[in-house]
């Protein structure tokens, strides 16, 4: 396998982008990434998108997006693993370059979610769960994570305030990210008084509905060294799956797929969790970040809530989690999220994260998951 580097990153402002179509938001981010890399010719492209079919009635993104990017007849693939589609696209691009099959690969993620009503979006997102045995009973994604929260609170004594602190922390970070959908601070009281969505989760525990895209350009590390850019290598990649239904899990308070993907990625990189300077993780709901910090081994089982309270995962803490603002403040265009996490980590490792820069960051980790943890992708990035 060859060493793989990220030589270009691109992301535009996320939000409710009513004046822009799916193809436009994708091409804007892809062009930024290509310009940042200083390359024009790509050997291949991989796109992560969860459900353009349900959100905008459009499939066949390989043709559409390569066409509007002006890159036909470039080989293109679209991959889907629910909310982990972006992370999966990154992994497929990584494999293509590492294997020697392609030298330069554009990896993009996109989701256009506000062309449908809230109810329709809830339904589209619900397809990441078991439609016949979870959705059939009226369950929603906030509902599934709410049940994980109730189980975690029951088993470990995690508190309602600790959940709120995750959202407060991520909005603090997001207030320093001009590309975030909600770049402003919120308070614990604000979270606790916001409207209930699925008890005990309130609207400010939930990541929003977002239009957005992100892109990165990958090439072999040898090729990257000849360019005049800081070389950021992807040193580890891990992917794991678990049961689709939450009820089938051995332990509903533990995300096994994230644990396994994290271990694989760290083993490939030859690193331990303590070697990592910053983390971009999948905080689709506040409880998710707490459970992910446990599954990755940043904290012990059951300690995720207390870690937030103690500031361990804040921007100036020992293990900064979600310096970008996370899914909570930055937004969660589901297929784009995994790629945007890579964009943030590369920015941090280049020292380009301005106000939210983690000082001296040399190594970063991304964790992206589908559904309630039915799939997880983890990557490790390192600066030279």
């Amino acid at each position: 396998m060859r060493d793989v580097a990220v030589i270009g990153i691109g992301m535009t402002k996320w939000g409710e982008l009513w004046t822009k179509s799916l193809r436009t938001i994708f091409v804007e981010s892809a062009l930024l990434a290509l310009d940042d890399a200083g390359v024009d010719k790509i050997d291949s492209m991989v796109v992560g998108c969860m459900s353009s079919g349900l959100f905008v009635g459009q499939e066949h993104l390989t043709s559409l997006l390569s066409d509007y990017l002006g890159k036909n007849p470039v080989p293109a693939a679209r991959v889907e693993s629910a909310c982990a589609s972006g992370g999966l696209a990154l992994r497929q691009g990584f494999i293509e370059v590492a294997s020697g099959m392609s030298d330069v690969v554009l990896v993009g993620g996109v989701e256009k979610m506000t062309d449908v009503t809230g109810c329709e979006a809830t339904f589209a997102l619900g397809t990441a769960a078991d439609q016949e045995y979870e959705g059939f009973h009226g369950l929603t994604f906030p509902g599934l994570y709410a049940m994980m929260a109730v189980a975690h609170m029951h088993k470990y004594g995690t508190t309602r305030e600790q959940l709120a602190l995750v959202a407060v922390k991520n909005h603090d970070n997001g207030s320093k990210n001009p590309l975030a959908q909600y770049p402003f601070k919120i308070t614990v009281d604000g979270v606790l008084q916001s409207v209930l969505v699925a008890d005990p989760l309130r609207i400010l525990d939930c990541s929003p509905i977002t239009d957005g895209a992100a892109a990165v350009v990958l090439c072999s590390a040898d090729m990257a060294k000849k360019m005049k850019k800081p070389v950021i290598r992807i040193t580890g990649s891990g992917l794991a799956t678990d049961t689709i239904a939450l009820s089938s899990r051995k332990d509903m308070t533990w995300i096994e797929s994230t644990h396994l993907a994290g271990q694989k990625a760290l083993a490939m990189a030859g690193r331990k969790i303590g070697d990592i300077d910053l983390f971009e993780v999948h905080d689709c709901f506040t409880i998710a970040e707490i459970m992910v910090t446990e599954a990755l081994g940043i904290v012990e089982k059951g300690r995720g809530g207390r870690a937030v309270e103690e500031g361990l995962t804040s921007l100036k803490g020992k293990f900064p989690v979600n310096p970008s603002g996370g899914l909570k403040a930055k937004g969660h265009p589901v297929g784009a999220t995994g790629v945007a996490q890579a964009v943030e980590v590369v920015k941090q490792l280049r020292g380009e994260a301005a106000e939210r820069q983690v000082k001296g960051a040399k190594r970063g980790l991304t964790q992206n998951m589908g559904g309630t943890g039915g799939s997880s992708v983890v990557h490790v990035f390192e600066a030279e």
């Binding site: 109810c119 809830t122 619900g126 009973h137 929603t140 509902g143 049940m147 109730v150 699925a198 509903m252």
Partner: protein, 130 residues
């Protein structure tokens, strides 16, 4: 509107709680599968789910998906039945305040949702406190 086949092919599970028991390790698969998730065996014998159990977790859905709009707020939970099977269903005939982990429940046959005026009416099981 989906083909009604999508609903009726699930009737054995949803109407009669039919499950499959692995002939090798005894794991009960619900809904039925072709491969035992525990031991990989591909042979099963028909069995019926236990009808009582206790809640492992629950929530109250305040923002429902389309087909459940007229029902919200409603409770949903995961219960572990006496035979060890874990199952997701609505919890009904119960004050929200009475919901707690460990609550004893039994399965009852109920209407779940319907597809408009002319579409399929979906039935299945729900949890009711014992």
């Amino acid at each position: 509107m989906p083909n009604p086949a999508r609903a009726w092919r699930e009737y054995p599970q949803r109407y009669r709680l039919e499950a499959e028991k692995c002939t090798k390790c005894g794991t009960i698969a619900f809904p039925p599968r072709l491969v035992c998730p525990q031991c990989g065996n591909r042979k099963f014998a028909k069995t019926k789910l236990a009808e009582t159990g206790k809640l492992l977790t629950f929530t109250i859905i305040r923002v429902p998906p389309d087909p459940f709009e007229d029902q919200a707020p409603y409770a949903v939970g995961i219960a572990e039945l006496e035979d060890g099977v874990k199952l997701t269903a609505q919890v009904v005939d119960c004050d929200f305040a009475a919901l707690k982990v460990g609550l004893r429940v039994r399965l009852e046959f109920r209407k779940l949702s319907e597809e408009g005026e002319a579409g399929v009416i979906y039935y299945g099981y729900k949890f009711v406190p014992e």
